[in-house]
Subunit: 192 residues, 2 copies
């Protein structure tokens, strides 16, 4: 079973069928160590498939500290799935840690891509999986780089209806903080 | 665009087409507050689609402390995607926080499900997305509940080829620990 992914990583050239599906939105590129390929705020960001070399993506927190979300050696791909699935601007940086040969799938590519992948019987299923990846990406990035207060805000946004139905200690467990820390955050929110 | 997901959540009965695809592997069930629906070690675990009520899933760490991976109110689903995508035993508990009406998709269901969803032109793509969800699930669970040493072990397993190619401070950033803590872990591993 060869996936698009494997095809992109192993073919000498981009296969005709993919070119037809994605038009000019996919191309082979050589990048140098240190090259910055994507920054936060990019609209409709694409993805990077690594054929040789090494990419990484990372976020900066409020204090400017770097948190690495993932590395992508040969055979891996990096893409801001949250941005793609929810049509938001990108939230992370992508750069090259080594001289690399990559396939760049630029903006617009993923619309064609996901539409072409959808199964006719259940057209929404692929997008649902993408959203799941996007939500998990946000969770990892927030666990790494966001304050407890911001994580609580994200919890309220993700689960607007359950805050009154779940014991405080469970919400604290989900956030990765102590019930005392959660209690403090809630008091500060009320007093504002 | 209605997905399988939406269909399962909103239909009075399970649609005939789904029944045909999944045989006896999917059924409506009513569960009580406190019911345990899945435990770590379950082979070939299925998924739970919540129509009414509230489920959660959690892991226990080495000290027996609870870490909640996610909640699932009405409209959500819980499944151990890592276990499904990599054919591993399940790693978490699922229980009901309220009396709930759910769709249980039991073992074997997802094989039929994912095969039926695959696009004929690119049959591996759906499974690739599932593996991505599975890897992210593992990352979230480890960030919440695993020691730094275990997270480093997982890093070495995930990226066996890059440990010599990446500065130590970047590996520490990926793990969410200080470079000093990583240095200590590495020394302890060498001295064993």
């Amino acid at each position: 079973m060869e996936s698009i992914f494997e095809t992109l990583l192993t073919s000498e050239e981009i296969p005709e069928e993919l070119k037809e599906r994605m038009g000019e939105h996919v191309r082979i590129q050589h990048v140098k160590k240190g090259d910055l390929l994507q920054s936060p705020g990019a609209l409709n960001p694409g993805g990077f498939f690594v054929r040789k070399g090494l990419l990484r993506c990372y976020v900066l927190d409020e204090k400017g500290k770097e948190h690495i979300y993932m590395f992508a050696p040969a055979g891996w791909a990096i893409g801001d799935v949250e941005a793609q699935a929810f049509e938001k601007p990108s939230s992370f940086y992508v750069d090259a840690l080594e001289d690399s040969e990559i396939i760049v799938a630029i903006e617009g590519m993923h619309n064609n891509y996901f539409e072409s992948l959808s199964n006719e019987a259940f057209p929404g299923e692929m997008m649902r999986l993408m959203r799941r990846v996007g939500v998990l990406q946000r969770r990892v990035i927030m666990l790494m780089s966001a304050t407890a207060k911001k994580r609580y805000d994200a919890f309220l946004k993700t689960y607007p209806d359950i805050v009154q139905r779940v014991p405080q200690k469970m919400i604290a467990s989900y956030l990765g903080i102590t019930p005392e820390a959660l209690s403090k955050i809630r008091k500060e929110m009320v007093s504002k």
